[in-house]
């Protein structure tokens, strides 16, 4: 384990000294290199010092994302739109899945947005360590930055597609109430759940390259366990609780409640989802931190 202690800076240097005082920097940065410990802690101050690099990673991924594509950022809208269309035709028209009192297309699109944010975050973040081999084996920085950047990048897609959602809401005149103020909370919940899972998966991916094959398989099934194509209150209460073990259930139905004014989530179910998300996050973070010292050796 390595850590950096940041000591308080010395008294301000007199004006005569050169602009870059190496003495001052020396006093500030003392790095102790030690063998990895069993229970590494999270160095928040170090993460804070590296905040610019996090921004740079996000910026890089955004810049590179739709390079050399014709329609560029429109893909961020096209993908969920197509999925929502399929849901509307298959589940809305033929299978008559319950959507509460909301029109199915806007119901599906809103759910798919939240879902795709989670799915994209998980995909990008869990591939982030292996996808940056040259960095991981050549330079030091808190490795946590890579999955972190991975869950931030899809937020931009979410915002882009959000405009379309607003347009659809206008079309179907479904306006949210005051609950819209808590909408970011549900995205945050998705972020925490995605990050937690991705931390574990990205660390696992450095040892076992099965991970990128396993994720899409689960992603096929998971929307149905997250109440994406149907309204949660359309299923028996008992099953609602079972589904709530999956944090994404709370994200999808909570997001619909906040944005579209759907049925309000049951507080207990929400608590269960949040609890599971936090557990996943802590577990993922702990596994990630324990594996981190070996990344450069096993990748």
């Amino acid at each position: 384990m390595t850590e950096t202690k940041v000591k308080p800076p010395r008294a301000p240097a007199p004006e005569t000294s050169p602009p870059r005082s190496t003495e001052l920097d020396r006093a500030r940065y003392v790095t102790v290199i030690r063998p990895a410990t069993q229970m590494p802690r999270i160095d928040l101050r170090e993460l804070w010092r590296y905040r610019e690099l996090l921004g740079i990673f996000v910026w890089r991924d955004l810049k590179v994302r739709y390079k050399q594509t014709v329609i560029g950022g429109a893909w961020a809208i096209f993908q969920p739109a197509l999925t929502a269309l399929v849901y509307t035709l298959v589940f809305g028209r033929f299978a008559k899945f319950p959507s509460g009192r909301l029109p199915y297309p806007v119901f599906a699109f809103a759910g798919v947005l939240a879902w795709q944010y989670f799915s994209a975050s998980l995909n990008i973040a869990s591939a982030s360590i292996v996808g940056n081999v040259p960095l991981v084996t050549k330079v030091y920085f808190p490795r946590l930055l890579l999955p972190l950047a991975g869950v931030v990048v899809p937020l931009i897609d979410l915002c882009l597609a959000g405009f379309v959602l607003v347009a659809m809401m206008a079309w179907y005149s479904t306006w949210p109430g005051a609950a819209v103020l808590v909408a970011p909370f549900f995205i945050l919940l998705a972020l925490v759940a995605a990050l937690g899972a991705a931390l574990a998966l990205s660390a696992l991916n450095t040892r076992y390259r099965d991970v990128p094959y396993a994720i899409p398989a689960f992603m096929q099934v998971l929307p149905f366990l997250s109440a994406v194509p149907f309204a949660l209150d359309g299923v028996p209460l008992r099953w609602q609780w079972v589904l709530s073990i999956n944090p994404m259930t709370a994200v999808v139905s909570g997001w619909r409640w906040a944005v579209l004014g759907g049925p309000q989530p049951i507080l207990g179910q929400l608590g269960l989802s949040v609890g599971v998300a936090i557990l996943v996050f802590i577990g993922g973070l702990a596994y990630f931190r324990r594996s981190e010292p070996r990344f450069a050796d096993t990748i």
């Binding site: 020396r26 940065y29 290199i33 690099l53 890089r60 810049k63 960095l135 040892r207 450069a296 050796d297």
Partner: protein
């Protein structure tokens, strides 16, 4: 001078061979575990190697520390630990100040991004602050010479442009401690010259540099002190010339002296036998490193067994590529007559500021001159070797120039200048 890098007992163990799980799939790993369980060998010993073991050293403020050693000695592992890319298995190191590494230029460059964007990206990854990059931006572009293409994606760059831009970014990063690995070995001659100059100026600016290289010349030129790693251990540390000399003697097997104790097997014929050959400094002691500004002697000790023919000691100096720098014979008239039997020690003095830098090796002969031929009596080829270095203090033929000066010799000549 404060200690800036202090390493104590750093060790790193790698598992090799049986632990294939590290690269395999989950299935392989599970199968492996099950097999281990069924066969009852729960603690099957994996083969282990210590890439480095018990490495301790210190580097002070403003010091340039060289790390040398053969391939597989653990140099790269040591650097990976110091740059925190990997953690040690045991030991501890304390580093005061920001650490920058030049392990490979262009780390993190993204082909889709433009030169401008990559400067920010790469700079941030190396550890520069955004403001620092902006401040140095123009200097970086100037140094790289790709100003015209700064808004072109780097995937359209030639490999030369790419390397130049990458190096300029790295060269403008100014951490307190710089860790450099072999980067000077890539690129063309001009690039190497500039990187070398850059390294030197970093050292002069009071920063601490840890410099790993196979280029012993570079190590001698830049480093105050050096450590020699072999099989993961520090086998020697101290003043650079001493460490380099020891290393050369170990690896090349040719030292500054060679002696033949048994006249019967010593090189030579019935007339002359060699006794020893040495490279000596002014004080007459053998030396395997020589400051280019000091005279250097080639000492040939031989034994004349019989009276008869006139003989002459002769030496040939070769540079590190095996090219002949020059041949020398003693031309004094004392060798015109047959040399009486006895033991002789002849020393040829190479004047200061004649040889170029690098390793020299010496062939010696004792010959009879029979113009236009030389008849050898006793010969020893590649008998001794020595490393000539320049500390670059400005009073050698190099002057203030830090780049490469080609040629077998590098004399310091008198120049005259008239103004018309």
């Amino acid at each position: 001078m404060t200690v800036v890098v202090a390493a104590e007992g750093l060790s790193k163990r790698y598992r090799i061979g049986q632990h294939k799980a590290a690269y395999g799939t989950l299935r392989d790993s599970v199968v492996h575990q099950v097999r281990r369980f069924r066969s009852g060998h729960l603690h099957e010993p994996a083969e282990e190697i210590w890439a480095i073991k018990d490495v301790s050293f210190e580097a002070r403020d403003g010091e340039v520390l060289g790390v040398i050693g053969p391939n597989g000695a653990g140099k790269s592992t040591l650097l990976k630990i110091l740059t925190r890319i990997t953690t040690p298995t045991a030991g501890r190191a304390e580093i005061r100040g920001r650490v920058g590494s030049l392990l490979e230029v262009g780390t993190g460059f993204h082909p889709e991004l433009t030169g401008r964007e990559n400067i920010y990206l790469n700079g941030s990854i190396l550890g520069m602050k955004r403001s620092e990059i902006s401040r140095n931006f123009d200097a970086i572009v100037d140094f790289s010479g790709v100003a015209k293409f700064i808004d072109t994606p780097v995937k359209r760059y030639s490999s030369g442009m790419f390397v130049r831009l990458a190096f300029s970014v790295a060269a403008h990063f100014e951490p307190e401690i710089m860790i450099v690995d072999e980067v000077l070995a890539v690129g063309d001659a001009d690039f190497q010259r500039r990187s070398m100059g850059r390294m030197e100026s970093i050292g002069d600016s009071g920063r601490t540099v840890i410099f790993v290289s196979h280029n012993l010349q570079g190590i001698l030129q830049l480093c105050d002190r050096a450590i020699l790693l072999e099989k993961g251990h520090v086998v020697r540390s101290g003043a650079t010339p001493d460490v380099v000399a020891y290393y050369e003697q170990q690896t090349i097997g040719m030292g500054p002296e060679v002696a033949w104790t048994d006249p019967a097997t010593a090189p030579g014929d019935e007339l002359v036998r060699l006794e020893s050959v040495r490279i000596v400094d002014e004080d007459g002691s053998s030396t395997s490193t020589a400051d280019v500004r000091r005279p250097l002697g080639i000492e040939i000790a031989f034994c004349v067994l019989a009276d008869g023919r006139p003989i002459v000691p002769k030496a040939r100096v070769l540079d590190q590529h095996g090219a002949i720098c020059f041949n020398v014979m003693d031309v004094s008239s004392r060798w015109h007559e047959p040399t009486p039997p006895g033991e002789y020690v002849a020393t040829a003095w190479i004047p200061p500021n004649l040889l170029n830098e690098g390793r020299i090796s010496v062939d010696v002969d004792v010959v009879t001159v029979a113009s236009p031929k030389l008849i050898p009596h006793a010969s020893a080829y590649q008998a001794v070797a020595c490393h000539v270095y320049d500390t670059g203090e400005g009073d050698s033929a190099r002057g203030l120039f830090s780049g490469q000066l080609r040629g077998a010799v590098r004399p310091l000549l008198d120049w005259t200048l008239e103004e018309r």
